[in-house]
């Protein structure tokens, strides 16, 4: 019996003075830090995170990549990449590429100058990133009015 108590005391002391690292299985492991990064090239921009996420917190604007702080802090204005990761249709992003806050820039984004709207003909305007890729599209009021008129009755 005494032997058992001695053994228990030794084990207890060992546990108490054991480095915390060695007790990793018993302690709460801090969640890995979620780091977002951006990459832009001729085909556009993309973001990824260190946890293999799905792009939920990633936004890409006409000025290049903007990244939200993890996990859900809002950082940016007009979204081009849809929240489910799918494509936002070009005509869904046309009107409001106006910043409404201070974005958190990625650690190593491509340094894109803010692109301007350019007229592309037939009442369409586009925004390109600095590589020339069209990332947003809009319409002149006249062209929009014509489309509205065409939309009143459709026979498909």
């Amino acid at each position: 019996m005494r032997g058992m108590l001695t053994l228990a005391a030794v084990v207890g002391a060992a546990v108490i003075f054991m480095p915390a690292k060695a007790l990793g299985q018993q302690q709460a492991v801090p969640a890995p830090k979620c780091n977002w990064s951006c990459l832009c090239n001729d085909a556009g921009c993309a973001c990824s995170n260190s946890q293999g996420g799905t792009g939920l917190s990633c936004e890409i604007t006409g000025s290049g990549c903007l990244v939200k702080a993890c996990p859900t802090q809002q950082a940016a204005p007009g979204v081009i990449l849809a929240l489910d990761g799918s494509v936002v249709e070009l005509d869904q992003i046309a009107p409001r590429l106006v910043a409404a806050g201070t974005p958190l820039l990625a650690s190593q984004p491509a340094a894109f100058p803010l692109s301007a709207w350019e007229y592309a003909g037939e009442g369409f305007s586009v925004v390109r990133n600095c590589r020339g890729v069209v990332i947003a599209q809009s319409y002149t009021p006249e062209r929009a009015a014509a489309i509205r008129a065409e939309s009143r009755r459709l026979v498909l």
Partner: protein, 348 residues
């Protein structure tokens, strides 16, 4: 005779509700059929605009981005504007009624209202992509409660079954399927439908998966984003038919995402995909394919036996989102977003 009709309707409803909730999905092999090309003629869809809402700077209808629009049982129109973090409600004639929610994490507040669904009693369910939860509002749009869904879900469609339970289309890593039968408190009853080998897909590739669902009288249709594929299930969740579209009609997911040493690169502006499926009555479904390269939408009128009745390229930018009776609602984003309500007729 007049008094028997409600009884009959009730009986039909009960039977349908019972049937929708019964049984486990069958695992039997179902033959995959290519959509048959439409012959000459075929039905035509005629859309006559009733009204539209949306303006550049109006007090009540200056939307930032419309991501979903649904009708409720009273004909009201609920519009989700994710960039304004709120919903807007209009009556059946287009008169503004009220806003619902505001930006925040509190009860009834939204970060990113993304997908809407209205049940038979006009309760409104809203999936908030930014907070991974569903908020529930009563028919007068008072906040009732919210519940979480599985955090890995990327919800792309919500529909109510006749028995009041939810059918959710959501891709989730390691989920065995993309269709989830969910109780009204968020508990998952079962998962079925197409699955993806997610181990081979990461990040954006996985997030491009998922699709849209529509309920016919006795048929559930699931439209996969890409590749073009339709699956039709009966009321018990048994797969009855699978229809594939033209090869190359949509962009393969693996061609949309390219891996590099630094990141996964989403070539978003090349992603041709099916964005929405609607039931339009008479056993026919409308499958909407979006081509962002050409800024073009194609409407396919299809049946559950894989007949392609008509394929039409819309002459104007327009994305249908919901249908109720003879009314169809669509989103048109030009220099500012508008929501258009049409009277819809399908000619023989």
């Amino acid at each position: 005779m007049r008094t028997r009709l409600p009884v009959k309707l009730l009986a039909v409803t009960v039977v349908v509700a019972w049937a929708w909730g019964r049984g486990a999905p069958a695992t039997a092999q179902v033959r995959t059929t290519a959509l048959r090309q439409p012959g000459a003629g075929g039905p035509r869809i005629v859309l006559n605009e009733q009204f539209r809402v949306g303006s550049a700077d109006g007090a009540n209808d200056a939307f930032a981005r419309v991501v979903d629009v649904v009708f409720d049982g009273r004909g009201r129109i609920v519009i989700a504007d994710d960039l304004n973090h709120q919903l807007s409600v209009f009556d059946a004639s287009g008169r503004f009624l009220r806003r619902v929610g505001r930006q925040g994490a509190g009860p009834g507040e939204f970060q990113t209202p993304w997908v809407l669904a209205v049940d038979r009693r006009d309760s409104l369910f809203v999936w908030d992509a930014g907070q991974g939860r569903v908020s529930v509002f009563d028919p007068e749009y008072r906040f009732v409660r919210d519940f979480g869904v599985r955090p890995q879900w990327l919800v792309t469609s919500l529909r109510f079954l006749p028995d009041g339970r939810l059918l959710v289309a959501a891709y989730g890593r390691n989920e065995p399927g993309v269709l989830h039968l969910v109780e009204r408190d968020g508990r998952v009853v079962r998962t079925y439908g197409p699955s993806f080998r997610s181990q081979q897909l990461g990040g954006f590739e996985a997030s491009l998966l998922g699709g849209s669902i529509a309920l016919g009288e006795q048929t559930l249709a699931y439209s996969n984003k890409s590749p073009y594929q339709l699956e039709f299930y009966d009321a018990a969740g048994n797969l009855r038919s699978r229809c594939t579209g033209d090869p190359g009609w949509t962009t393969p997911v693996t061609a949309v995402v390219r891996r590099t040493a630094q990141a996964q690169q989403l070539q978003w502006n090349r992603y041709v995909h099916a964005s929405r499926i609607l039931y339009v009555g008479g056993g026919r479904f409308l499958n909407v394919v979006v081509d962002p390269v050409a800024n073009r939408r194609t409407l396919d009128l299809v049946t559950s036996d894989c007949r392609l009745l008509r394929r039409t390229v819309l002459p104007v930018p327009l994305t249908p989102t919901d249908r109720s009776g003879s009314r169809l609602v669509a989103v048109q984003n030009l220099e500012y977003p508008q929501v258009i309500v049409y009277d819809m007729r399908i000619t023989p």
